[in-house]
């Protein structure tokens, strides 16, 4: 409701910033989440830049990701198949999250709840597949943070550090989404409004977007 009222007026960036009381017509929590996400972007940017840097400085050859991250279902190994499935699941979860936000603003508590639970379930399955990937690499392939049989030791270091840090973000997101979902179900936000669903959604979309960059820079490059 608030968004519509604002976009209807002819407010410009300059008007917003030179207004009293507030610079953005959004709740405090949403403004804070945006600022936090920009800050978090810097963390992941530093991780990825650091990764690209050590990939250049290391003296050993960089392992072939397409071979390491391949799975075979009966026949020939399919490169990056697990990562592709994980990426697909995470992007799907962004879709269900967007639906949850929509139903939240329509004050359809039941649908909001179930779409948020579905999003969290997708997220949990992502973490589950990541755990499978980790255990396969550690137990079967012998990849360790300090070294691996395929080449540069930094490969393992970077892999565990970046996917681990992202996995923590996803795990935190699942807990966050479930907390909000159950509060939605109880009608906790009937008076305050359902912006909180969108705020949780912002975080979730951010985590998905970061994964796209990790996928591109670490698995494909």
């Amino acid at each position: 409701m608030s968004e519509a009222a604002i976009s209807g007026s002819n407010s410009t960036l300059v008007d917003d910033w030179s207004a009293d009381k507030q610079a953005y017509h959004v709740p405090w929590g949403k403004a804070m989440m945006w600022i936090f996400l920009v800050s978090d972007t810097f963390i992941f940017t530093c991780f990825l830049t650091g990764y690209l840097h050590v990939r250049l400085t290391t003296t050993d050859p960089w392992p072939l990701q397409s071979e390491i991250f391949a799975l075979s279902f009966g026949g020939d190994p399919i490169p990056l198949i697990l990562i592709a499935i994980m990426t697909f699941i995470l992007i799907t979860s962004s879709g269900t999250m967007a639906l949850a936000v929509n139903f939240g603003y329509r004050r359809d508590k039941k649908k909001t709840f179930w779409f948020m639970v579905a999003t969290a379930a997708f997220g949990a399955s992502f973490v589950g597949m990541q755990a499978f990937e980790w255990s396969k690499l550690i137990l079967e392939e012998g990849v360790r943070p300090w070294g691996n049989p395929f080449g540069a030791p930094q490969f393992g270091s970077v892999f565990f550090m970046i996917t681990g840090f992202h996995g923590l973000h996803v795990t935190a997101g699942v807990i966050y989404l479930l907390t909000v979902a159950f509060k939605v179900k109880k009608g906790h936000y009937d008076k305050k409004g359902y912006e909180i669903v969108e705020i949780a959604g912002l975080y979730w979309h951010f985590v998905d977007l970061v994964w796209v960059f990790i996928f591109a820079f670490f698995y494909l490059l």
Binding site: S18, D20, K21, W28, I43, F47, T57, T59, M161
Partner: protein, 596 residues
């Protein structure tokens, strides 16, 4: 349903009303109590760092006389002094202390937007300080790697504290960053979203602008430190090789291979240089308000002062490698970073000119805060000018790692912010406590500190030109260093001891005045900005009583011709005070005159 800004919905502000002593003073969600907690912890660790620096000075000044520290504890003192002063003292005091106290008051808000998060912030900060201090008590002691913590030396056996000390240091930094992020998100959101009626961004006092931009810098720069701390912790604890190249230690190759020590330097200074401005920008803001109030004159060029703060903040992200000229880099990079570094001098000089022009023909009242504020202009010009030397690659190369560098950054980001902190502490002391401090004692404190500063740091510039290297436990006998340099070192030490001891005056003053100071009244300096217009002094929980204030003007209406007094508070409507058009300037409404 019409859109109502949250700042107008009083119910949205979930005020947590304390019921017991513990919830009022320990687990408090009141920004003012949190500010005092932040400030108290920061000043306490600052005293620890000060004592460490005096131990180092005694060793340097009288190497054979005192037997207080050995070479290892000398390096540990260097490291802990630097890290504590920069991060745990200055950053925490300026943003956590002054930011918490002044932002809601100057914005006409009841509190920060998320008081609970704010409370978490201060206690997580306390945890980071406890972790850091615990490194004094573990085997091997705190890390002695220098405050920059450069690998590979940080983690190698020759460095004191290479096992436990460095781990605790990195852990403590990571925890500090979490604390800072929680606080910083609050400060930024409060400034953006929780201003009172009539208070536009361009009517904010420069204090708020300085802290606001500095907090944004912190939120974007600390991630680099967090990432480098995580990577280095992995290098130490998991045996990875992010920063460790192939190293042979005492004939044995270490289990590291292919890492990049330069990567750490880049990450560290991508944090480290904005960090300088995280400390400097709040100081710029605070000093602007102190100068304007005590000169009874509006700040000169308010709009330009704001843009200068923003420009300095932006530029500070593209200069970091000027700390790395001697690390080895492509000459074109050196050229680039030297150019950006020197460009920062433009907005900075603009600010200095504007401070001086604020004093010009002002009705200057030489109160103790004004002493410190004017003292800051001196020390800041000195430190800034030597920065121009060090920003140039060819001049930096011979001066690098000498006492010239020590003198430069102590003048510009050590003494200068500290003088502003004293100015601000004395200036806002009556608002915080409701009592006046002892003026004479404060002025004695100023003169000893200010003159002592020059006695300490001016000779250091000369030592630097002689080529005396920094971070050395003892100089020994070297051909290029004349023996008289040792006399200079002794003189510096004596000055440092006197200045260190003089800080006791400050503590006596603030504690003595808590009970014995004269009641100050709500607005002893006749200040126009909003924090002096609270219904109670010190302000009560919720700050503003029943109704939030409304702001009608900027924070600098001093000496307006025709007004009843020589200042008009921000919350006085236009109709109640005459406004002389040719003198009065409000950037929001008088934009045409500003250009003319």
């Amino acid at each position: 349903m019409a859109y109502v800004p949250l700042a107008d919905q009083d119910s949205e502000m979930e005020m947590h009303h304390p019921h017991s002593w513990v919830t009022k003073y320990v687990w408090s969600q009141d920004h003012k109590v949190i500010a005092i907690q932040y400030g108290g912890i920061a000043i306490a660790v600052g005293v620890v760092a000060l004592i460490l620096s005096l131990l180092m000075r005694m060793q340097l000044g009288f190497p054979e006389t005192f037997d207080l520290i050995d070479p290892s504890s000398y390096y540990q003192s260097v490291t802990m002094h630097g890290m504590i002063m920069v991060v745990y003292m200055l950053t925490a005091l300026l943003l956590g202390g002054f930011g918490n106290y002044l932002i809601p008051l100057m914005c006409g808000a009841r509190d920060m937007v998320f008081p609970f998060l704010n409370m978490l912030s201060v206690w997580v900060y306390a945890l980071s300080v406890i972790i850091l201090m615990s490194s004094f008590f573990v085997s091997g002691g705190p890390t002695g790697a220098g405050w920059t913590l450069y690998p590979p030396q940080t983690t190698m056996a020759g460095t004191p504290g290479h096992d436990m000390g460095i781990v605790l240091m990195l852990l403590s930094l990571a925890v500090f960053i979490v604390a800072f992020t929680m606080g910083g998100l609050n400060y930024v959101t409060t400034v953006l979203q929780y201003r009172c009626r009539g208070l536009t961004m361009m009517r904010l006092p420069l204090t708020v602008w300085g802290i606001f931009i500095a907090t944004i810098l912190g939120l974007f720069a600390f991630p680099a430190l967090l990432v480098s701390a995580i990577m280095m912790l992995f290098d130490i604890l998991l045996g990875t090789s992010f920063f460790m190249p192939a190293v042979i230690e005492s004939g044995t190759p270490l289990d590291h291979n292919g890492g990049s020590p330069i990567l750490f330097q880049h990450l560290f200074w991508f944090f480290g240089h904005p960090e300088v401005y995280i400390v400097a920008l709040p100081a710029f803001g605070l000093v602007s308000d102190v100068l304007s109030t005590h000169a009874r004159k509006n700040i000169f060029g308010y709009r330009m002062m704001v843009w200068a703060i923003i420009a300095i903040g932006g530029l500070s992200f593209v200069v970091w490698a000027h700390h790395m000229y001697v690390s080895g880099m492509h000459p074109y990079f050196g050229f680039f970073f030297a150019t950006t570094t020197l460009i920062i001098a433009v907005p900075t000089a603009l600010k200095v000119y504007n401070w001086v022009l604020t004093l010009w023909e002002g009705d200057i009242r030489l109160n103790a805060p004004m002493y410190f504020a004017i003292g800051f202009i001196f020390t800041f010009i000195h430190g800034g000018l030597t920065g121009l030397f060090l920003g140039n690659v060819v001049i930096d190369l011979p001066l690098s790692d000498t006492y010239f560098v020590v003198a430069h950054f102590h003048m510009v980001m050590g003494v200068s912010p500290v003088l502003v902190i004293f100015a601000a502490l004395y200036h806002w002391y009556p608002k915080v406590t409701g009592r006046m401090f002892h003026e004479g004692m404060a002025k004695a404190h100023f003169w000893i500190t200010f003159l002592g500063t020059y006695a300490i740091y001016l000779p250091m510039h000369y030592l630097g030109f002689l080529g005396v290297p920094r971070r050395y436990y003892a100089m020994g006998s070297t051909d290029f260093i004349p023996e008289s340099a040792q006399d200079l070192n002794a003189a510096i030490t004596i000055a440092a001891l006197i200045v260190g001891a003089a800080q006791i005056l400050f503590f006596i003053n603030i504690f003595w005045s808590l009970r014995n100071g004269k009641p100050s009244g709500p607005n002893p300096w006749g200040s126009a900005s909003l924090e002096w217009q609270t219904p109670d002094t010190p302000p009560k929980h919720g700050n503003w009583g029943d109704e939030l204030p409304t702001v009608y003007r900027w924070a600098y209406d001093y000496s307006v011709p025709g007004a009843h007094e020589d200042f008009i508070p921000q919350n006085v409507p236009e109709s109640e005070e005459p406004t002389a058009d040719e003198q009065h300037f409000d950037p929001d409404h008088d934009a045409s005159k500003a250009d003319a």
